[in-house]
Amino acid sequence: MKKKIKSDIFFYIILIFLIFLILLFSYRAYHNYNVLKTQRGYLKQVNIEIQPWMTVHSVERRFNLSSEKVDKELKIKYNISYYGGETITSLCVKNHLNCTKVIEDLNNLRNQ
């Protein structure tokens, strides 16, 4: 009998833990969805500037910047782990760069 009660408690603990995980991931999904919505909304505007969440290739394409200039600014080194879909933020972290300054410089390059 004691064993059964113990295993029941074990299942209830698992259940509470699972509900907690569902709530946690639901919150994260909701947050990420809001970020996605904001980004999509921003891209629909007429006058847009380079943002930290934009990918390297989208910056090159959308703002007509040469890849050499962007690569130099973000200190991109080509290797097997690099792909152009990386965001400016992640590259700033990876290459130990001041992201605010990089964005500012990229926007200046665009306006030149």
Partner: protein, 196 residues
């Protein structure tokens, strides 16, 4: 540019995408979804998207079949080793019956919906020697859907695909936890009924 892997759509890029997706299906390379969505975001025309869909589905199907065959080949040796453990003997029969009962839907859903489980399911399917024909059909249908969904999403969402993959990943985990919660609730209800 010295080595721009995905900066332009070319044969080299398609070849790399094929190899990475194939290795991803075998569980040797993580984050295949990122490569697929990323390359689709860089596609400039619908023909590029179509080519990516074909390459990704082909590579994923081949990878899944290789994983299944590897696990199937070693299933006797591994199961005889595992049968030495009492805890394995108890649960093995039950797990095998459950897998056989829902083999098609488990394999099919794990290809495009519960993508974090697809490699594990491939190896378990081979290990449990589930019906080869059923497995291959489920893999073909599931992987085509997988390639279609994520390539089109990558192409349509372009710059915002990073956030999009995060949302898809979160929803996948929610689904996994909901399924496990349903199983735990069912176990608790069954236990209560037995007590009564």
């Amino acid at each position: 540019m010295i080595f721009p892997i995905f900066s332009w759509i070319s044969l080299l890029n398609f070849g790399l995408l094929f190899i990475l997706t194939l290795l991803g299906s075998l569980g040797l390379v993580p984050g295949t979804l990122i490569w697929i969505a990323s390359s689709a975001a860089m596609a400039s025309s619908l023909s590029d998207v179509l080519l990516i869909i074909i390459i990704v589905s082909l590579a994923a199907i081949i990878g899944d079949i290789i994983a299944y065959e590897i696990a199937r080949k070693f299933s006797f040796a591994i199961s005889s080793w595992l049968s030495k453990f009492k805890s394995f003997q108890k649960g093995e029969h039950k797990a095998r019956n459950m897998l056989k009962k829902h083999e098609f839907s488990i394999v099919f859903l794990s290809r495009f919906l519960l993508t974090s489980l697809d490699v594990i399911v491939s190896y378990i399917s081979g290990f449990e020697r589930i019906d080869r024909k059923k497995y291959i059909i489920a893999v073909i249908l599931g992987e085509i859907l997988y390639a279609l969904m994520y390539t089109v999403a990558g192409f349509m969402f372009k710059e915002t695909w990073v956030e999009l993959t995060s949302v898809i990943g979160d929803i996948t985990w929610i689904l996994v936890f909901v399924i496990i919660t349903a199983v735990v609730i069912k176990i608790l209800i069954d236990r209560k009924r037995k007590k009564q």
